[in-house]
Structures are given as C-alpha cells and as structure tokens.
Symmetry: none
Subunit: 416 residues, 2 copies
Amino acid sequence: MKAEIIGIGTEILLGQVVDTNSAFLARELANLGIEVYYHSVVGDNTERLTSQLDTAMRRSDLVVMSGGLGPTQDDLTKQTVANYLGIPLVMDQTAMAKIDDYYHQTGREEAPNNALQAMYLQGATVMPNDNGMAVGNFYQQSDGADVMLLPGPPTEMTMMFNHYGRGLLEAAYHRNEFLVSRVLRFYGIGESLLVTKLSDLIDQQTNPTIAPYAKTNEVTLRLTASAEQEAKAKGLLDGMEAQIQARVGDYLYGYGDDNSLEAVVVAGLKDQQLTITAAESLTAGQFQSTLGNVPGVSTVFPGGFVTYSAEAKAALLQIPSEIIEKYGVVSEQTAVWMAKQAKKTLQTDIGISFTGVAGPEELEGQPAGTVWIGIAFKDQTPFGRLIHLAGTRDRIRERSVMAGLDLIRRQLLTLK
Amino acid sequence: MKAEIIGIGTEILLGQVVDTNSAFLARELANLGIEVYYHSVVGDNTERLTSQLDTAMRRSDLVVMSGGLGPTQDDLTKQTVANYLGIPLVMDQTAMAKIDDYYHQTGREEAPNNALQAMYLQGATVMPNDNGMAVGNFYQQSDGADVMLLPGPPTEMTMMFNHYGRGLLEAAYHRNEFLVSRVLRFYGIGESLLVTKLSDLIDQQTNPTIAPYAKTNEVTLRLTASAEQEAKAKGLLDGMEAQIQARVGDYLYGYGDDNSLEAVVVAGLKDQQLTITAAESLTAGQFQSTLGNVPGVSTVFPGGFVTYSAEAKAALLQIPSEIIEKYGVVSEQTAVWMAKQAKKTLQTDIGISFTGVAGPEELEGQPAGTVWIGIAFKDQTPFGRLIHLAGTRDRIRERSVMAGLDLIRRQLLTLK
C-alpha cells in the first residue's frame, strides 16, 4: 500500500503558510500501516495540479489531497480531479442545506460559488465538514489509485480526518485484523525527554506501534495494536501502557484525541462538585477563557476577575494596598491574596491567581517569564507556586495557564 | 524564472517533523521575484530522490533542495545530485579544516563520514555553514537547471541562505528591478465575497499582483509590484490600493504581516488616551485575554470581569436582578447593563460586554451563536448589538471577540 500526499494552495507554495497538514496526514497514514513515499505542494492552478495528480496516480495506490475545496475561483481541486478521472460532480443536499442555513442565520451575503462546497465526485463517499462548509470525498477505483480529498484549513481537515477519514481508510484497507489505538496525553514533560525515557520501547516497537507527537505545550503518544480479536489488541495496548506508565505515568493526564487539560480539570471539578474562580493579571482572562472552552463548565465556574493593573487588584479584590506596595505585584503574597480574595468574593471552593511578567519588558526588576500562581483550595492554607517560563509573550501567558490547570488537576487528585 | 523546492528527509516524509524550510525558501524566492511552482518532499532514498530530481530538473530553471548533507548513512543528497549530473565531488579544504578543528577541540570521536560534509559539486560555488558543518552548494548550468543545496536543520539552512544563498541568487538572476509588497488586512468580509468583489482586478493582475489569503476570522491581500525605481513600484501599489479601497475599504482595518485587529484597537485607544474594560459571559475572558496579547496594553486596560453565571453578573456588576429576570441573560438590556456597570466600576472611558449562547446547547430558547455585545462608550448612550454566528463553540466565542474589537475600532474612528 503506497500512498502520497498533495497539499494544494498558492499560499503554501508562496510560503505564506507552513504546510502542517501533510505532516499530520503522514503520521496518521503511518499509524494505519500505509506507507507514504512522497509529499508535494502545488498552487491553485489547473494545469500543474493535473500534472502532479497524474504523476501521483501512476506511482501510488492512494493519493490524499488537502486544500482547494472552498468557494473561490482559486479553489480548483475537486473540479480538476473530476476532469482528470472523467466523472461528474454532484450535489450533496445535506451540505447544501447547511450552507443555505448559515447564510440565512447570519444574514451575510451569499457568494455565487458557494454551492461548489457541497459538490462531490459521483460515486465517492462524502465526508461532512463539522467545522466548516466544504465536504470531503473518498473515491475508490477498482482499476486505479484511490483519492481522498480534504479541506485545507487545518482545523477543518483534522476534524474531518478524525471523524470520518480514518474510519474510511481503515474499512477500505481492512487487513482481517482489528486495529485498535489509544492516545495518551502528557503535560509537563518535553517530547525529547519523553522519547529518551521510552527509547528502548520505541526502538523495539512492532505491535503495538508507538507514535509520539509534540503539540503546543503537551505531548501525545498514539499506541496502535493489531490482532485477530479486538480483545487481544486491547490487551497488547494495556501491556504497553503499563510499561509506559511505570516510567512517565506522573505526567500522564488523560486519554483520547478530543481531550485537553482543561477538559480533564472541568471533569474533575464536576466529579467532586467543586466550584472555581480566578483572578488573572498577566494572563488577562486566558485561564478563564480556557475553562470556557469546555461545554457545560457553567456548573463549576461562575466567573472571575481580570486584574491587570494594581488599581484593579485593589478595587475588585480589596487587596490591601500595603501588600502590593511591600511585596510588589509579582510576589507570592500578592498571588495568594488574589486567589483567596477571588474565592471569597465569589464564594467558590477554589480560587486561582496568576501574576507575573509576560514580557517583553521586565517588571519590578524581574525578567519576562517570572510567574507566581496562587492557589486557595477549599479549607487548605493558600499557597503560591513560582514558575520560570521561556518564550514569547504569547507562549509565557499560554504556559502559565497550562501550569495553573495542572496544579488544579494535581490538587484534585489528592482528594481521591 | 521557474523554481521548485525539494525537502529531503524521512522524518519529514513520516510527519515527525513539519517542513518549515520549504515555506521559508518559498517566501525568500518570491521576494527575489523567482516564481515557485512546486514543493516536494522525499525520504532519504537514492532511487526516489533521483526520480524526483529528474522531474524537477526537466520542468524548472532552478531547483532548491534542503536536507541530506550530513555525515550519516541516511545523508545522500550530494552524492545523488553528483551522480545525476555526472560530475565529481571535491573537497573544500577550509570546511575540512573547520571540521578537524572541532573534533580536536572538543575531544569527541570523529565519525568516519565526516569528510563528506566538506565535499562539494566540482564547479559549484561553496556556501560556508556558519551554524554547523555541512557546506552548501550553488551549481549553475549553461544548458540545464541550476541547483542550490542547503542543509536540513532550519537554524543552519536559514543562516546559510541569509548569509550566502540570497546574494548568490540575486547576482545570478539580477533583474534591475525593485520588488515592493504591501499587505492589506480585512475583517468582516469572507474571502469568497472579497474575491468576488475584486474579481476583475484579480483576473487582470499583472503588476501589481494580488494574492488573497484567508486567515482565522480575517482575510489579507498581498499586493506586490515591481519597477525600475522603488518610488514607481510604490506608486503602482498606491494605485491598486485606491481601487481596492473604493470597493471594500470599509472592511480594511490595517496593514502589514505582523498586525492584528487587537493591535489596531489598542493603538487607537492609546492614540486617543482612552481606557477600556469588559464584562464577559460566553467569551469567559477571551476578549480581555486577546487585548492582553498586545505588549504595553496596561496603559489603556486596567482589567475587568468574567461574569459567566447570573449570580456573578449580580455580585460583581450589581446588575439589578429584575433586569436579568425580566429580559434574560441573552438580551440587549443585560448586555447594556453589563457594559455600563463594568465601565462605572473600573472608571474607564469604555465598557464592552458579551452575553450570548456559545453552544452546543441552546439557552433561554435561543440557538447557539446568538450573541449580544453591549457598548458603553464615553458619554454616549450605551447600546447593544445583536449578532448571529455559526460554527463550533470555540469559533462562536472567538468570532464574538473579533466582532467586539471591530465595534470598538469603528467607534474610535467616529472620534477622528
């Protein structure tokens, strides 16, 4: 089974966007036991796309393409593939109804070419777009290479692949075996250290396979086992996971593709019926906004405070001005006061605070990346935790939020 | 001048590393006026690399390759190119002395293949590696495509290109012309509609060229003009921009690659010495966190409120409970009260609020995507604006924030 990946888009060709889709797809295909021999990128140009498609269809068994499914003149992928294969495009009524609804609901002006996004190759399996409008296609041929068409925007592409594409490929190239995967999610350990600690397991991997993947601020491992029975494949996964847990289990926070540190924290809070609030300085609302990512968070999170200036800390949280004057805003004392006053004001079980230096300038003589997190947890004595972070302003703020979530997660574990 | 880029490395092919080199090189070549028509990636495999090289040399005038110049068994690029072109590899004595020195100084054991890193294609210009050991090559042919070989590690590759590669290409393909670009940023209009409104300009584009690009929640256009004098190129850009402004100027919010709606809003606030606060329900701090992306925002933003629950709206903002009971949380009245109470409590010039349905469930009988934004702007009568948004929970929250920023931007323009 030889596959290749084609990324389509002039913005990739010109280097205005880095092509992350091809790397994602290459990893996913490898996990399915499909070997990838080539990637290529072409612009939104019929002639060159046809030429690249012809090369790919002749030398591979499966061609996976992303990009060019949108509604503009530039979006030519579907039409070009249809022409090349000599089959018509037909309309998916469900997708068309969704597009019409969108314009109806939002009152926006509908561009004439929008219907193109609902069209598919006659005979293909349609993949719905759960994060956008353009549908995907999986077209199988008895006498030629198969083609999978995916949208270009990474948020749409990854969701479509996770929800539909992977399953279609598994079913199409079924090997009389059960293929079972498990994704382990780690926070607080870098990819290189994780891989070093597991290097012998990774070097010897056959079944299960182990695929590490570094995401922003976390690392995941996808374990994939195959066996004649599903239970046997799961047993293989359990055995491998136990070995991994013994070495790096302290950093394992959760499982699954659609999971996150905030989802685990919110689930833990709901589980123990605890409410939380926050007072944020350098993160300016990003911790609370991250909690807000999780549907149904309102049962454990009433709201909180953004206290960017010293005046706001005093006005909204009634922190005694002598505390800030004596210790400074970037201090354990201020962090602890912020956390406990936030908790008290909103009468929650937990208060967390963030105060520190996002940069690029230093503050109170402390360098960018110096961050205090305060925790007021139930009846326990409030405490502060100092962390030192590297990177740009955005990264420092984002990493502060992740560190705060992990502190709460670990506190919740102590109650079990 | 047609160029293409080949990335070489099994780790890229398998998706373990994202290929950022190709995007860098594509941008740099575009800036030099060299058109890039294809990117491709192949593994460290002589046969497939030769096949890809052959395709590239036949269809392009310049082939830029990165990767595979190192000392390991996997590193095959230079030997493969030498074989393909039928020319020998010879040693660069300066590079070899540098390699020997390194091993002498560090006392490390020298790998047997290290000398390979100092070899170059006979007749090529050698590019020193100021951040590593493997030299680069620029090989020009009178009767075939030119080849540039660069190392794979991005820190080595970019430095070599910046120090040597760009200059060699400029000298080789000197066009006696200035190339000037300008990026226009639009909010509130989708890519498809923007492109429709400019379709004749885009169809006729020659100089300047017009490249549209949809980013998350915004669209940019990159205009690029070339002329013998810089002033003339700028004049061409001005002329094209004036035509674009006449059609879609209302959506144009700023310029430049490193810009954003929040940066424009914060600059406008500083410019007019106005302070802002926010009360956020469905966005849960994301508006304030987005303001916090901008360095130095503290002079115009003291902090604000996350009032997710009705209780928090009452407790933190003293909104009369009969308002919420009578009109509901998703209402103009609640939005207006949130904005004006936030402004009053923190004594700012502007208060903005967000209340609505992030989804996936409906709220108070209103569907996901129904959002009220309240604005209390200086001494003006506070008002609410209803918007209907589509997409996932994340998208709805993110788009609410963008809509709020744009409302503030437009209010600031009325003061000018």
